[in-house]
């Protein structure tokens, strides 16, 4: 026989009584009798499997039964049982698991962290217990990988299937000249482990796709987006929202960068900011538009800082704020970001509940499985660089137009070409003879295809686009022409 004190919110299940006297020789028997008598109480206290719910503690008089005989604790007449929830919480991150410890070598290595009160041993253990996925080991991924490894983030996943190229070296400081031609993921892993052999690097040498994204991301606490294209950016966003993982975002263009944290603690997601991708081709990539080599360092390190803050649960995160950086003006600005209640991904009534086809969504073709340059097909309306060379050598009567920018023309050009940047091209259409034989090129064939389309719309018949642009010219016709 014992008196059970009923917590306020549960009295609705006991006919408003604040205490109930029930029979039983042990705590288990008393609780069983109680929840038999008041069956609605059962769900409040026990799980469906009949175990005490994780938040319920039972006290016999002043003692927690866990430290007595648990369920079998004997109950005597006049005893009082109390149901007391265990309650805790905090602004951010859970404490590191107890099994995470720091060796003396690690304590020495991280000493400058350990003596900051906001980090300390507890914080360094959080870093060690953390699992962070870096999508991309390029411009943003390079500083991220180096600094997160140095900071002691215990497990760092890398997603990249690209190979180091000479044009990467101007900014992707995790890769060296000797690494050109190697998989980026191998080169990055090597550098990160050289800095800190205590971290575990997991290599995902694949393209992140709708098929594999959830499976890869689910094992990490946090995702850092270092991608350079819209389909992957939307994919990372949607996967993070679906899996409830914070997405530390950064993007760069020429002299300007942005950073924020999406999908964290009820904050907005990428789709709240950009519900739709820009029309294909409107926003140039770094390869098309160029980027100051140092810029991804600045933005990547803002992402690294936010990542470490999330792990440590300190400071004020960029959730709900878009940080804009202008390297030329050397100014930071901030825009307030709000969660869009109508967001199809994270709004009140989400309509996107699984990953979709992101190439179709962004209106860009699925990346081909790396076609060898030699086998590039020449379609109707196109011309191969070798044929172009023969045409020039034969002295054919034709017009060769280069639609790149003047600063690109200064780097290299094909002899005899006339420079008309794509932006000014429509104004010059009237200067050409619709009957003339016209060949147009750019760097790789994208912009010149647009120029060809403009002429064809204006009734030009003999217009051809140079497949592969001046890069193909350098490869197949004149290796002395520098590639950029």
């Amino acid at each position: 026989m014992a008196k059970v004190l009923i917590p306020t919110p549960l009295r609705q299940f006991t006919g408003k009584q604040d205490a109930v006297t029930v029979a039983g020789a042990t705590v288990g028997e008393v609780l069983s009798a109680l929840t038999t008598q008041y069956s609605d109480l059962r769900k409040q206290i026990f799980t469906e499997e009949g175990k005490l719910r994780s938040f319920v503690n039972v006290y016999l008089n002043d003692e927690d039964i866990r430290y007595l005989g648990k369920d079998a604790t004997a109950v005597e007449d006049g005893d009082t049982l109390s149901l007391v929830p265990s309650i805790a919480g905090g602004s951010a991150v859970a404490a590191p698991p107890e099994e995470v410890t720091l060796s003396n070598d690690e304590i020495l290595r991280y000493s400058r962290h350990l003596i900051i009160p906001e980090v300390g041993i507890e914080g360094q253990k959080k870093l060690k217990a953390a699992k962070v996925l870096l999508v991309g080991t390029g411009g943003l991924g390079a500083p991220l990988g180096l600094y997160l490894a140095a900071a002691g983030v215990g497990k760092i996943g890398l997603v990249d299937f690209d190979v180091v190229d000479f044009t990467n070296l101007q900014r992707q400081v995790i890769h060296s000249t000797n690494d050109v031609g190697r998989p980026k993921i191998d080169s990055a892993t090597e550098k990160m482990l050289a800095i800190n052999p205590n971290v575990k690097i997991v290599k995902h040498e694949v393209a992140l796709t709708s098929e594999n994204a959830l499976d890869i991301i689910k094992d990490y606490d946090c995702v850092v987006d270092g991608t350079d294209n819209f389909p992957t950016r939307y994919l990372v966003n949607d996967a993070c929202v679906l899996l409830n993982k914070p997405n530390v975002y950064g993007s760069i263009f020429r002299f300007e960068g942005q950073s924020t944290v999406f999908a964290y603690e009820g904050g907005p997601c990428y789709r709240c900011l950009y519900p739709e991708p820009p029309p294909p081709g409107l926003v140039p990539s770094c390869a098309e538009g160029g980027v100051l080599g140092i810029l991804p360092g600045t933005i990547g390190l803002i992402q690294a800082t936010e990542t470490v803050k999330l792990i440590l649960g300190i400071g004020e995160s960029l959730v709900g704020r878009l940080l804009l950086y202008d390297a030329l003006g050397m100014r930071f600005r901030e825009l307030k970001l709000r969660k869009n209640p109508a967001c199809p991904m994270c709004g009140d009534h989400p309509t996107i509940t699984r990953l979709i086809d992101y190439h179709q969504f962004c209106g860009v073709p699925q990346p081909a499985q790396a076609p060898p340059v030699e086998e590039t097909k020449v379609n109707e309306g196109e011309i191969d660089v070798v044929e172009l060379k023969q045409k020039i050598d034969r002295g054919d009567n034709f017009v060769l137009i280069d639609v790149r920018e003047p600063h690109e023309y200064k780097i290299c050009s094909i002899p005899g070409s006339k420079l008309i940047p794509l932006g000014e091209f429509p104004k010059h259409v009237a200067e050409f003879d619709p009957a003339a034989d016209i060949v147009i090129h750019c760097k790789s064939g994208m912009r010149s295809a647009k120029a060809c389309a403009v002429l064809k719309q204006n009734g030009f018949q003999h217009v051809r686009n140079v497949v592969g642009g001046i890069l193909a010219w350098s490869d197949k016709v004149d290796p002395s022409v520098p590639k950029y």
Binding site: P85, G90, I314
Partner: protein
């Protein structure tokens, strides 16, 4: 809906400011007849052993004492409050995973030592989600 009377509200804000940069926690006593009214805020000790800037923990015996204090005043224990220093008043994963669906959870956001905003949350049984509860003070 939960309404906090001015006296307990002032006590809660003062408690959160004093505890800054650490988190504070306490119990809210009052009456509940569908809508809840908080009449008394009772400070409880943050018993978390570690950095209290991002964590709090209530001792069950303190909670028991709060429940008892409520009974003695013919009131109910209707909720728990705690502060988020330099963070928003969201219901974090840590909050959720250590919550109890029986009570209202009021979170006070304290920025740079000053009160910023507050929210009240009602966690579910599985500790997987919390609904925002209308809060007036």
């Amino acid at each position: 809906m939960i309404r906090i009377e001015s006296e307990p509200w002032a006590a809660m804000v003062a408690h959160a400011r004093e505890a800054y940069p650490n988190e504070c926690c306490g119990a809210m006593l009052g009456v509940s007849d569908g809508d809840k009214t908080v009449r008394v805020a009772m400070r409880l000790e943050n018993a978390f052993e570690g950095a209290q800037a991002t964590r709090y923990e209530l001792r069950p015996e303190d909670l028991l004492a709060a429940d008892k204090a409520a009974r003695e005043r013919q009131m109910d224990l209707i909720g728990i409050y705690h502060s988020h220093p330099d963070c928003d008043a969201y219901f974090s994963k840590t909050d959720l995973q250590n919550s109890c669906p029986w009570y209202s959870f009021v979170v006070l956001s304290i920025r740079q030592g000053e009160f910023h905003h507050a929210n009240s949350w009602l966690p579910n049984f599985d500790q997987t989600d919390a609904a925002k509860e209308e809060l007036t003070y």
